[in-house]
């Protein structure tokens, strides 16, 4: 009397169990990769703007300080986008007939605001505040990357929760002296490895428990 199932069936059965596990893990992995990929986070993608405003020329080329345009970044949660008037401070005289700047002049003439396209956009259920980060020695470049080399603005960081937490768990790694916050070319001194820990103490940075508590960012 022959058996209904060949002995090999056992192997196939076991193999198929492994195969299911492998497929599940790799789908999970693919989803996780997709989640952190630029496709999902919109990281490192140039964003088209109504006017080709170049941080490379204005910040890198002419050395204009961030605060000349983003005036509220030290005092408020929101780093404002400059109004038309700020552009016209210079462009009333420089490139004042260039077609590329026509939208700016039209905006001043008709008293209508310019419509910039947002580059960074946290979900509305997250609370972020620039002023505290600036006051506690977090540089623009730490979060926004080499802005002075950007011909068009792009998002440098993932802006995912893990990114925020990575720093909130260990701010000593990223902290810099307050006067250097706006300096795009600052690098941590190689001869002073304790600087981070020292500044964290000096600036009285809140505890890790407080900084990683859900209600700090979801309030």
């Amino acid at each position: 009397m022959s058996q209904i199932f060949h002995r090999h069936a056992n192997i196939y059965a076991r193999l198929s169990m492994i195969a299911v596990a492998v497929v599940a893990v790799s789908i999970g992995g693919a989803v996780a990769l997709l989640n952190v990929s630029g496709y999902n986070t919109k990281q490192d993608e140039f964003v088209e703007q109504p006017i080709q405003f170049s941080h490379l020329h204005h910040v890198g080329g002419m050395g204009i300080d961030c605060r000349y345009c983003h005036t509220s970044v030290e005092e408020s949660a929101f780093a404002n986008i400059p109004p038309t008037k700020t552009c016209m401070n210079c462009h009333s005289q420089i490139w004042n007939t260039a077609p590329i700047l026509e939208p700016v002049r039209a905006s001043l003439r008709d008293d209508t605001p310019l419509h910039w396209t947002r580059v960074h956009d946290l979900p509305d259920f997250v609370y972020f505040n620039h002023s505290i980060h600036v006051k506690k020695g977090m540089g623009c470049a730490t979060c926004h990357g080499p802005v002075d080399k950007m011909p068009l603005m792009y998002q440098h960081a993932t802006l995912q929760m893990s990114w925020c937490l990575d720093c909130h768990r260990n701010p000593a790694r990223y902290i810099r002296p307050r006067e250097q916050v706006f300096n795009m070319s600052w690098r941590p001194p190689s001869d002073d490895p304790d600087m981070g820990a020292r500044l964290v103490k000096q600036y009285k940075i809140a505890s890790v428990e407080q900084l990683t508590s859900c209600s700090t960012c979801h309030r």
Partner: protein, 222 residues
């Protein structure tokens, strides 16, 4: 014998079935996870973009398309009542005030230096001679702060220039708060003094003692 065999084969079948079922269960778990991930991705945008206004968000409600409303004319926010005339205009009646409305100490000067370097140095450059980067790119050249007329000008004149602009120079009242404008005025005064100091102005009469901090100051990056 046959019944034994039948029992055995049915046990086998059920074992294989169990394996298949558990495989199927695992498969459907994966499917479930995938489906719920898809759902999560679907829900996500609602909570991402909640129907409320955040700073500078557009609005379809107001005719000009912006959610931020201009103040009704004549509105005075708490704490911004401009009752203290000289402090807010730099003028006492018709004349420019000659002194700063508050005492100048090192914090005021440091603040003034920082603000000057942000807002004025693009045109007036860090020493005040009027050769800033923007001037080098074709902006009209401002006069040096070190000419006699400006060295003798009243403090209030500088405040007024920052507040209301002057000829080809734009006004900075929206970008710089009144107290910071005064701090800038104090720093411009310090720049003027630094360029015209005599050796006798230096405590101890040794100008080399001054040279170092001044050079550091003008190099200081922000």
């Amino acid at each position: 014998m046959t019944s034994q065999l039948a029992a055995r084969s049915s046990r086998l079948v059920s074992r294989v079935g169990a394996v298949a079922r558990s495989a199927k269960a695992a498969g459907s778990k994966v499917l479930l996870v995938l489906a719920s991930l898809a759902l999560v991705a679907g829900c996500r945008q609602d909570m991402h973009d909640q129907p409320r206004y955040k700073a500078l968000r557009p609005s379809t409600f107001f005719a000009d398309g912006s959610s931020a409303r201009p103040l009704v004319e004549g509105t005075i926010a708490r704490g911004t009542l401009q009752g203290d005339e000289p402090f807010f205009t730099g003028k006492d009646g018709k004349d420019d005030v000659t002194e700063l409305p508050f005492a100048v100490d090192e914090t005021v000067l440091d603040r003034g230096q920082e603000r000057y370097n942000i807002y004025c140095s693009p045109c007036h450059d860090r020493t005040g001679s009027g050769n800033g980067m923007v001037v080098q790119r074709g902006y009209r050249q401002p006069p040096s702060f070190h000419i006699d007329r400006l060295r003798t000008a009243a403090a209030g004149h500088f405040f007024d220039v920052i507040t209301n602009g002057f000829g080809a120079m734009p006004d900075y009242k929206a970008q710089i708060a009144p107290r910071d404008r005064w701090a800038i005025v104090a720093y411009v005064r310090a720049l003027q003094l630094a360029q015209h100091a005599a050796a006798s102005d230096v405590p101890g009469g040794d100008p080399t003692k001054l040279a170092k901090p001044a050079a550091e100051g003008s190099e200081k990056k922000h």
